[in-house]
Assembly symmetry: D2
Homo-oligomer: 353 residues x 4
């Protein structure tokens, strides 16, 4: 098969760099354009990343060879119609402005929150709720677009939602989530200062808790094809989001009430046997990595399981009415660019691009 033409927008930023790294040598997508701000436009990619003699490159490995000399395009000037797919990693305000322009002609996969809460926009995690892709028809019709916008959820939502997906069959009544989030989630401008987080926990991340609550209900909800909307899952979600001194990988303590009262063995089996059979290049195998060692998962040890795409779950127990467990999910891999690429692969497989 011919590779699809892909553009990365916001390519010089930290999240955009992760798209660039994730797409280098990708078997299905060929990056043929890198777009950025007006300031970066016209420069070679590697020059746009440079500050004096220092290279501001933060993704794993070196800058991919084939993209070093690519000339960065102004994202406002990008001719979307030339691409089969566009990956965007921009601030929400910018996303609101440019993603609709691109979506006129082209599928857009976005890490921004701008369109996550629109009724006709599916909020998908590969392997969890790909059936929500059926909303795309409504989206196209409502907005007169040939393409579409498919945002991925907040990275904190992703970890818990993946751990909940195999348990949906037991009837999830309520969940309590306390996150211990990595500093990379705050990006680099301004990011989290060492002055603030060394020897410390910061118990508040502005806006994060609301996102987790709304997104979890939407993701675990059901698409109503007639109305072209998602009926939110009727799950009581409570959350407390904290920043801890970890570079990468969100850790989440989860408490859930499950209606069917499955045995712990059944729950463990639900995770261990969970296999969405995506059949796409980035598919993590296993999709969920289940641990029996009570000291696992730990972010440093488990965040990179299957290149950061497998979700690690452990510490399953039920001392009272709650099923309890711990999740580690790589916030800047499955929770960001790599998660969006995996989603694009899945939608490609389903024929949406």
């Amino acid at each position: 098969m011919d590779k699809l033409n892909a553009a990365v927008v916001g390519a010089t930023g930290i999240a955009g760099q992760q798209f660039v790294a994730a797409l280098a040598g990708h078997p299905w997508f060929e990056v043929t354009a890198l777009a950025g701000s007006e300031r970066s436009a016209g420069k070679k990619y590697v020059d746009a990343l440079s500050k004096g003699s220092s290279l501001q490159w933060f993704a794993d490995g070196p800058v991919p060879e084939q993209m070093r000399s690519m000339v960065v395009v102004d994202s406002s000037q990008l001719d979307a119609s030339k691409f089969d797919v566009i990956f965007t990693a921009v601030e929400s305000e910018v996303a609101k402005r440019i993603e609709p322009l691109y979506a006129r002609t082209t599928p857009v996969f976005s890490t921004a929150s701008a369109f996550r809460y629109e009724p006709d926009v599916p909020l998908m995690i590969s392997g969890v709720n790909l059936d929500h892709a059926s909303l795309i028809e409504a989206q196209r019709k409502n907005r007169g677009w040939e393409g579409f916008v498919a945002p991925i959820p907040n990275c904190t939502t992703t970890g818990m939602a993946v751990s909940l997906a195999p348990l949906a069959k037991f009837g999830i009544e309520s969940v309590v989530l306390v996150s211990m989030q990595a500093v990379s989630g705050a990006g680099r401008s301004p990011g989290v200062l060492a002055l603030d987080i060394t020897d410390n926990v910061i118990p508040f991340i502005d806006g994060e808790e609301d996102k987790v609550i709304v997104e979890t209900k939407k993701i675990l909800g059901k698409v109503d094809v007639a109305s072209g909307k998602v009926a939110d899952a009727e799950i009581d979600v409570a959350t407390s989001c904290n920043r801890v001194a970890v570079r990468e990988g969100h850790t989440e303590s989860v408490f859930a009430v499950l209606k069917d009262q499955p045995g712990l063995d059944e729950v463990a089996k639900a995770w261990e046997s969970f296999d969405p059979k995506l059949g796409v290049p980035s598919e993590p195998r296993p999709f969920i990595t289940y641990h029996r060692d009570p000291y696992r998962p730990q972010p440093r040890l488990d965040r990179d399981a299957c290149n950061g795409l497998s979700t690690s779950v452990g510490r399953l127990r039920k001392p009272g009415r709650f099923y309890q467990w711990t999740v580690v999910s790589h916030n800047t891999k499955i929770g960001a660019a790599k998660g969006a690429v995996l989603l694009a692969e899945c939608l490609k497989k389903k024929g949406y691009l």
Copy 2:
């Protein structure tokens, strides 16, 4: 008033050092003996703390002048009858053996868990459940002791319990607690290695969760004078205990269902106006430090409020059915030696020593 004669047992250990620091210059208690293991016995305190030319002293400030030259006594040989009060900071197995010997004649305040779960032993936090001291009569009668054993709770229990005490009047039905605990809680042998906790969270602390559940119910329970026992509070308690890269100060995300559905203002007021009027030298004022800045409390900024004896509470909100907040409590101050000294002061005031 004449000062009471006090002994510190386990004085060379990290928790014992905190007793030594907390009692230096104390207006009511005079440390007249330091006891330790056979290995330390017979040495000057400052020599028992030395390893070559390096002083293994870990409490705040220098070794108190008056205790530097005190000769350490073998804790097995300590003549308890010479003391008005004994403070012990030893392993649980040792506590089981020596605390009953001391308690024959003398009140013992202990950081060990050995006796916490005995029906006739009160588990008290100053300002929270001092009325449980009435159990001491039953304890003396049951065991034929003139003294008594008064353990303090686990440091993780303490933070949450203090935050719950002022809310008991609203009817606490259930609580969920996720702790992010400081490494000092694990002590120094072996303690938490930098190798393990740097850039990491460890989602398990052996035995900790059970302690928090059992202790919280006992502390918030009611003493039944007739039976000489505590009727546990009928609160559903669920907890997940995590270790984070913080030196001192436990951070706790709490979720609670309150029967009376008070307004948030009422809850805030309950904390702000909480004043147990202990009337003792170490009493923290305010007993609870309430924060309106959503980024507070933080362990690095708030653990030392009122010398580590005030409990910091903030982030109050009720987005769903749970009242939610964050607690910071100094695990090795109010949660250990200083908390035990404060308790001893309160029992002195109440006439128990």
Copy 3:
């Protein structure tokens, strides 16, 4: 004595806040104006520090009561003639512009590097080279000022220079310095990201090494009254400056060749007996804290000695041709605002203000 009228310029920044904290309740200086950028001007100090409901205050303790409601003045509009002394904590570019305006009428103590390298500007550390104050006459004459500018050195220079001062009598031929610097030295905009320094060392601090070399030679040099200049000390200085994961307190490994080949006891005695007898309120006693425990000084344990104004020195040895030792110096206390206040006290005592 009546207190001197003082203004703090750059009062809302992190270094300016430290001036505010250091000057609260000062026995000689009374802060009667706080100046900041145009953006802060006209706001109450506490409002200028606020970002939503969060207070951006980073110095020790709370915002001093008497300064909370003080209205911030635009630093460009400050009428310097109203003050007896001005403390500035601004970027070098700003300092170049505003400090000469203030100095027309008023002594200015500055943390900025703008004037450090001017021949007629003394670069002083209290207790080390206060005799350089005699340059002030030349400065006034050259520039037609009634006041003067007295910058303090770079914080990395300060630690080493204090440790060298008592050894000058032995003839310092050369020094090699490797610094392990705290993140607070980089301030907060942008500061050092946790992403970059967690589990890491950054081996480069732009411009720092040149400053240390030039400043050390100037500080240890001799004032030539006739020419109104400092003759740099003829010491070969080599340095490597590194950033480490420490919040506060620079650690410095120093190697020195001393001409007179003193015994180690003589060197230790030179430090232990060093007493500049400043006779001013902030004078640290001892001025140098000398450690014999080979594991000391450590930044976490020793940075706050004498409120961050005592310089800690230890690990003295001479395994080869170098005398070697380790210094810990509080970069944002003696190395910044508190060091400038101490200097102002000394110059007040000497009659310069």
Copy 4:
């Protein structure tokens, strides 16, 4: 070629685990025995590593499949004659006792310091001083061994020595080294506590500085075949060893006086073109990774270059009489087990096993 039979002694310890990981699937060496203490002997390897349900495995990746069920042998009972090569990772005291027993029949590669300073024992780093292998003949003759003992140097020595090797041709007169060492170098019993190193630097590592000085001179010295000894290099070496909050990877600030006064370009070229052409499986290519970005090398970014076997060098400059640079070297890879395996490969190639 048939693989050589290899035994790993001390296989359950942290350094021994790294041998196990390094040798899994090795093309030349086949691990046919794992030896440990009496306590581990008789257990399956994976059971010997287990503590309850938690696996105490600290090397990269999972426990190699083929070694999981291998039964651990008591290292005192190991029949060395059955092996072509033995890798030991034990405490120095144990090494002194058991390595001579093994060496009677078999070449022993050791991470212990026990034999490093013996005149007839070569202290080799692959690519640096493999010619010192000629000492083995003297060693065999002196001791009546068929095998030999080949210890690797201290991990701190290794980094600097590799960076110096290509510069030997310029005439190294003196070096000053300040190390900022990772906590993994202290192992796990007791290791470095998070309590001690969080927000801190520890300026002393017992015995380390002497090792670096002695070893550097020996490694850069010349073998005198007639006497069967090494004539130490006549280099003045001074060093200060510090512990910093880094998990893995030692960072070293080096200052050197080079007799020939080469240009900086010549020095850079010496590193960039340095190619010992080892021709063995683990050979890192490049052997030295030279950086021009002044912010490099950094331990977190550069320690794993070429699987932890390439030495990273950067920040070359000569502001005064010293050539100065920074080294990052992976202390538990090239500085421990992997370095010993690389050395064994080289000696195999040279016919010593």
